[in-house]
């Protein structure tokens, strides 16, 4: 079991290194197959680990393994250590499974790109980092994985490095994440000081004896890392910009796996959060605010990927809400179904973008229903699943979260109300996207690209380098893109049936040994929440239908509100005003007042002093040999006199 877990972790790293070192000796296609194969091996290894773990008794499913001592400093000793337990295996399965499908999809999507090898090396590196994050056996290994996924996210957002907007987005994501990394590192320092270790067991055993202040600070630091990685308020601004990366990257990193790492972190360190219940409640509250806010912003976005990005933010808000209330298994369940349907939505959107030669503006799309029937079906499944309409997967997980909220007193009910608002908004914005893109008559732009039998393929938004060769493949994309979308369609349809609270709950019972839930919803609460959430979702879809499909109702215009939403609640502007401008001002001020007069000035004066001293002593060098001889003789005489006199 341990060997399988290590295999799962290290094979993608091997593939990343191999592709990097092979350089031109490997074909572009070969790099794609190598990356896909390595992630597939990971997935198989994860399944093997899972099967072996099933054989253990539920209370005995935690298996740490240390390769060697990695870092030793005084009393501290951090091992290269992984932990195989139900939670990490759950995440391993999701990461490697969805990762395998998305990397395979990339083979078709990235075909013809200039730097495919680099892309696949990064993808394999990401999968390794994410697996390290979820398998890490102490908080230090977790932090290493945490930083590495941030790095690979940065590299992949900025993959098209000749586009300034992509580079800016990559930088933004990295800086935002660095804030979280820093707070997390501070929390770890505090933990080391208090408990002398970062191993999960030792830290958790000491969680209750940390003291109120330390416990709250540690939980806050960890929460800071979680919200930065998961794009929750107030560090959410990087996620929409991250859509500058290739679409499969958005699907894998910015929807299915990396951004949900925050949820994983809270569940993994739940004993620390339970020692600071107020911080845990704060996490839930932030999730609730984010989910409503992101839902509102998604209503006015016009970029197909950004709409989905905001829905990702909103869905992660649900997961934070769940774990914030202590419904850990419900949060993880939603993480899994979300990975399925959100990856599906992104990949279906990728098919659309691919077919339309890189166009992402939904105002130019329309009427794709008949032209791309397969994508149409996939998108329907994704949309209904996202909205939480039975029998699709989102229904099962989202409604468990809402039911859990309902059973948690007034605070829970407040969050429940936010979740319900979110359910309505989800129906509205996802159906809006769906109807605009697929309904109605094909727009002129769509006709130009799809009605001529074959279509140009190009990198999204990259008209300058676009290759106008026509693909001979019939239908909607190369096979590697369609079969992966097909599998995800199936998963998004049936994936939710794994757990149907209260009737059968294998995921809850699987995860219970790691994180005991703090909340149990009753059957009535499940029923009420489900009915209401589905009802509100359907109302949202119905309104979108009236506005965007039937066009019976004009889009309501509220100029002020719309401007507010289009500016994403002015968060970018606020941060610009609060942080960017003051620091620029401070920097220019320091440059003028300190650097120029003090630093540069002192150097200039030093240089002048040395030059003058040199010129002064230079006069001593007459170039006349006899002068030198005289000075030697004279000094010799003086030395002799002094010597004799002192004697």
């Amino acid at each position: 079991m341990i060997a399988a877990a290590w295999t799962c972790l290290l094979v993608p790293l091997g593939a990343a290194l191999a592709i990097t070192l092979a350089g031109n000796r490997i074909t572009r296609r070969g790099a794609g197959y190598l990356a896909t194969g390595s992630v597939a091996v990971s997935f198989v290894a994860a399944v093997v680990t899972f099967a072996l773990l099933l054989g253990d008794s539920p209370g005995d499913r935690s298996h740490p393994s240390t390769l060697w001592s990695w870092l030793t400093a005084g009393q501290l000793d951090f091992g290269l250590r992984i932990l195989v337990d139900p939670l990490s295996v759950f995440m391993m399965l999701v990461v490697s499974g969805v990762g395998m499908l998305i990397v395979a999809y990339s083979i078709g999507y990235m075909d013809g790109d200039d730097e495919e090898r680099r892309y696949f090396a990064y993808m394999a590196l990401f999968v390794f980092s994410m697996l390290l994050l979820v398998q890490g056996g102490n908080l230090l290994m977790l932090l290493v994985g945490w930083g590495l996924v941030g790095l690979s996210s940065y590299l992949l957002i900025g993959f098209w490095h000749d586009r300034p907007s992509a580079v800016a987005a990559a930088k933004k994501a990295f800086v935002m994440n660095a804030i979280g990394d820093a707070t997390m590192a501070l929390a770890l320092f505090l933990l080391i000081q208090r408990t002398g270790s970062l191993n999960f067991e030792i830290v958790f055993a000491n969680a209750d004896s940390l003291g109120v202040w330390a416990a709250n600070l540690v939980a806050l630091g960890l929460l800071g890392g979680a919200i930065a990685k998961s794009a929750q308020l107030p560090l959410q601004t990087w996620l929409p910009d991250a859509m500058e990366g290739p679409t499969p990257v958005s699907a894998l990193i910015h929807a299915a796996t990396m951004v949900t790492a925050g949820v994983y972190l809270i569940v993994r360190t739940s004993p620390l959060f339970e020692a600071a219940p107020k911080v845990l409640e704060l996490a839930g509250g932030l999730g609730a605010i984010t989910l409503v806010m992101a839902g509102l912003i998604a209503l006015v976005q016009t970029d197909i990927k950004r709409v989905i990005a905001y829905s990702t933010m909103s869905q992660i808000g649900y997961m934070f809400l769940a774990v914030g209330l202590g419904a850990y298994a419900d949060g993880m369940f939603h993480l899994m179904t979300h990975a399925f349907f959100k990856a599906l939505l992104f990949m279906a959107a990728g098919l659309v973008i691919h077919a339309l030669a890189g166009e992402q503006d939904i105002r130019k799309m329309g009427g794709l229903r008949r032209l791309m029937p397969f994508t149409f079906v996939a998108f329907i499944v994704g949309t209904l699943s996202l909205t939480g309409i039975p029998p699709f997967s989102g229904f099962f997980s989202k409604d468990s979260i809402l039911a859990a909220a309902l059973s948690q007193g007034w605070y829970g009910q407040l969050l429940w109300a936010a979740g319900m608002t979110g359910a309505f908004l989800t129906g509205l914005y996802s159906a809006r996207l769906f109807f605009i893109v697929f309904w109605g008559e094909p727009s002129a732009f769509v006709r130009e690209h799809l009605m001529i039998g074959s279509h140009a393929s190009g990198r999204e938004g990259h008209t300058s380098h676009e290759r106008h060769e026509t693909h001979v493949h019939s239908g909607e994309g190369p096979p590697s893109m369609t079969w992966t979308v097909g599998i995800l369609t199936v998963l998004a349809t049936i994936g939710g049936w794994i757990q149907f609270a209260d009737l059968w709950t294998p995921i809850s019972s699987w995860l219970d040994p790691v994180a005991e839930p703090l909340v149990e919803a009753t059957g009535t609460q499940e029923l009420v929440s489900s009915l209401l959430a589905v009802g509100l979702g359907l109302v949202g879809i119905w309104i979108a239908w009236l506005i965007y499909a039937e066009r019976q109702v004009r889009v309501p215009r509220f100029a002020q509100v719309q401007r507010l939403l289009e500016h994403k609640f002015y968060f970018d502007e606020l941060y610009d005003l609060l942080f960017y401008r003051p620091s620029v001002l401070l920097a220019t001020g320091l440059y003028r007042l300190v650097e120029q007069p003090l630093v540069l000035g002192s150097i200039r004066e030093l240089v002048r002093a040395f030059r003058e001293a040199g010129q002064g002593t230079g006069r001593l060098q007459t170039g006349l040999v006899r002068n030198y001889a005289l000075s030697i003789a004279a000094s010799l005489a003086i030395v002799t006199v002094v010597f004799v006199a002192v004697r």
Binding site: G623, L624, R626, L630
Partner: protein, 102 residues
């Protein structure tokens, strides 16, 4: 076999050394400067040998031999330089060789 006292030897050595030093300092022809240098070295040698005899030890004499060897090599280099200067049709005047003035 006592001979004169060591003081007399030292006096002659000092006289030779000073003569040489004056020559080095005052003459402008490089040839004469080299010659004067030799006189200085020989003054020093004389002092060494005188002390060697005074203390009845061979060290000073051996050291004088070393000084002679060094002097010979130094003259080789010095004469080589003088020949090089003469080949360039430059004046044989040490004061005119002042390119290194600061």
């Amino acid at each position: 076999m006592r001979g004169p006292d060591v003081v007399w030897y030292l006096a002659v050595a000092a006289f030779l050394f000073c003569t040489g030093a004056l020559g080095v300092l005052m003459r402008r022809s490089p040839l004469i400067v080299l010659l004067s240098l030799e006189i200085m070295l020989n003054g020093a040698n004389l002092a060494l040998i005188a002390f060697s005899r005074h203390y009845a030890q061979g060290d000073g004499q051996i050291f004088a031999l070393t000084v002679m060897a060094v002097a010979a090599s130094e003259v080789v280099v010095g004469l080589g330089l003088i020949v090089a200067i003469a080949r360039k049709h430059l004046d044989l005047d040490v004061d005119k060789l002042s390119t290194l003035r600061g």
